[in-house]
């Protein structure tokens, strides 16, 4: 049973990190209508920048993670720059390409030192306070609980920030950009500046999530950051409801539950019905189910499970 609890702690930690990712996409897409199909780039950049600074340059982990968030925010600014010139769907496709370029870059770049980089990834990434936990004689499980708490604290802070953000006049102007630029432009809004800031905020949160992931997993490789990961983040936001921050949490929970069900469901099926299902096939099956759910949600529930709340004007 302890194995099961440890696994749940692990799963919740990972889910918390993904919840931050889906919140960050919800800022970009839900609030500002930016179809960022390369969202995993922020996660990747946060993870790699923090890893490189901490492992190779000996930075403190906290500063490494913060720098990862900063780098991802700067990358968001870069990605937002062409929005002024490009049609929405062209821009979306180019974000997909940008994330892949970044992944190919890390796939082909060897890092110095004991950690090779490239396709083999980087291993031995230090974990915060790990030595202290060891020195005090705490178990691995205790450390798992500690990191879960850390991630949950970060998630809570992100959630509070995103909800606060979505109620500001800034977000109100962002929402006006979701449909057409003409009216906001005619009202004197610098639309590109608003988009740049939305991309930077979403990027920063995504980058922080990447840093938290790298220093938890202690190992990263380019394979972790494929376009399919971006799709999962999108599934969370669409399922939960774009524009609703709590929706992102619900969406993350459901998608993560489905995605990780491969560790339980085949065993249950075997125990209950005597069905044996190939792990490989189940791996595909869970993605098929998630894909079909997304299509059904778009067809029949376009606002998601928790639609965006209508803002009532206070009397």
């Amino acid at each position: 049973m302890t194995g099961f609890v440890d696994f749940l702690v692990y799963l919740l930690t990972i889910a918390g990190i993904w919840a931050m990712l889906s919140l960050s996409l919800n800022v970009q897409f839900g609030l500002a209508g930016l179809v960022d199909l390369g969202h995993v780039a922020f996660f990747m950049l946060g993870a790699y920048v923090s890893t490189i600074l901490v492992v190779l340059n000996g930075w403190d982990i906290t500063f490494g993670i913060l720098a990862g968030g900063g780098a991802a925010a700067a990358f968001g600014v870069l990605m937002a720059l062409p929005t002024a010139r490009l049609q929405q769907d062209y821009w979306a496709i180019s974000t997909l390409a940008v994330a892949e370029i970044l992944r190919i870059f890390f796939l082909n770049t060897s890092l110095d030192g004991p950690n090779v980089g490239q396709a083999l990834g980087v291993s031995g990434i230090p974990r915060p306070l790990r030595d202290w936990f060891n020195a005090e004689g705490y178990s691995n499980a205790a450390y798992g609980w500690f990191y879960l708490g850390l991630v949950m604290a970060c998630l809570l802070a992100t959630l509070v920030f995103c909800i606060w953000l979505s109620r500001t006049p800034f977000a109100r102007t962002l929402k006006a950009l979701r449909e057409d630029d003409a009216v906001p432009l005619a009202l004197g809004k610098r639309v590109s500046f608003f988009r740049i800031r939305a991309m930077a905020i979403g990027g920063a949160i995504g980058g922080l999530a990447g840093g938290l992931f790298a220093h938890y997993n202690a190992f990263i490789e380019p394979e972790y950051f494929r376009p399919i990961e971006t799709f999962l983040i999108w599934a969370m936001v669409i399922l939960g409801g774009a524009g609703n921050m709590f929706g992102s949490l619900v969406g993350t929970f459901l998608v993560m539950a489905l995605y990780n069900s491969s560790r339980f469901v085949p065993g249950w099926l075997e125990n209950l019905f005597g069905w044996t299902i190939n792990g490989q096939v189940y791996g595909s099956l869970r993605l098929i189910v998630i894909g079909i759910i997304i299509i059904l949600v778009i067809l029949y529930l376009p606002n998601g499970l928790l639609p965006e709340r209508r803002r009532r004007s206070a009397p």
């Binding site: 003409a182 005619a186 004197g188 209508r310």
Partner: protein
């Protein structure tokens, strides 16, 4: 420069081989409701687009309060105090009427992070003031009861009213209205005309494109007639609308005119 609020000189605009504006010059003085009429395809909306910065002219200049805005971007033009509405593009539909109104004011403290963090009180004080003004304006256009409805759920006429109220909320010096009463019932159209006259008396300036001649007569002080990319007449509405060349332009329609 003259004391004209808006001064347009020799504007030309071509789309491929099609000449939309063939040297348009006009002046909109202060203190008037100025009408711009003309048959379909005569270039009215193109002229609006050029003046408001949404399109770039091939030749000619645009000056607003003596300042050259011929090459300015739309948001710059708007910030200088020249705001427009659109014929077809509606206000954001997935925002409530009140949110649409609060969107309009320029230089909101709450649009910048420094102020959001450093001066939260200032932000909320400003929000309260905007909200009060939005309520007043919505009352003028009879939308007070709809404040919490999504703009997308309004009728066509109500959307026009919201666009008008929204533009007033932005508090511009010159308001460009593109077909403010198209698809609006006559009673409501007369109410809109009355609102515009009242606002003119309070010192606002309007430039209006409209097909509804009744509305033009009852609300405009002065009009220009655009036909095939040229101004063909200018003056008091009643007098201009009686002129023969104006009638001919309207009756002939685009097909009868030489290739334009």
């Amino acid at each position: 420069m003259t004391d004209a609020l808006l001064s347009v000189r020799g504007i030309e605009k071509r789309f491929g081989g099609l000449v939309a504006l063939a040297g348009v010059s006009m002046e909109v003085p202060k203190g008037l409701v100025y009408g711009l009429i003309g048959p379909n395809g005569s270039g009215k909306t193109t002229l609006f687009n050029v003046v408001s910065g949404f399109m770039r002219q091939d030749a000619g200049t645009v000056a607003f309060e003596g300042r050259d805005i011929g090459r300015a971007s739309p948001h710059r033009v708007a910030r200088l105090g020249l705001c427009r509405t659109f014929q077809a593009t509606a206000c954001p539909t997935r925002m409530t009427v009140m949110e649409n109104m609060l969107l309009a004011p320029q230089d909101q403290l709450g649009e910048g992070f420094v102020n959001l963090v450093a001066r939260p009180r200032g932000v909320s004080r400003q929000e309260r003031a905007f909200r009060a003004r939005a309520r007043d304006l919505l009352a003028i256009v009879n939308l007070a009861g709809k404040a919490d409805e999504y703009a997308g759920s309004l009728s066509g006429g109500q959307k026009k009213l919201l666009a008008l109220a929204q533009i007033l909320m932005a508090d511009p010096k010159l308001i460009l209205l593109d077909e403010p009463v198209a698809g609006v019932n006559p009673v409501l159209a007369e109410e809109i005309a009355a609102v515009i006259r009242k606002l003119r008396d309070e010192g606002r300036n309007f430039l209006i494109v409209e097909h509804n001649m009744h509305f033009i007569r009852s609300s405009c002080d002065r009009i220009s007639v655009l036909d095939a990319g040229r101004i063909i007449a200018e003056g008091e509405p009643a007098e201009v609308l009686a002129r023969e060349e104006v009638l001919r332009a309207y009756l002939a329609g685009p097909a009868a005119r030489p290739a334009a």
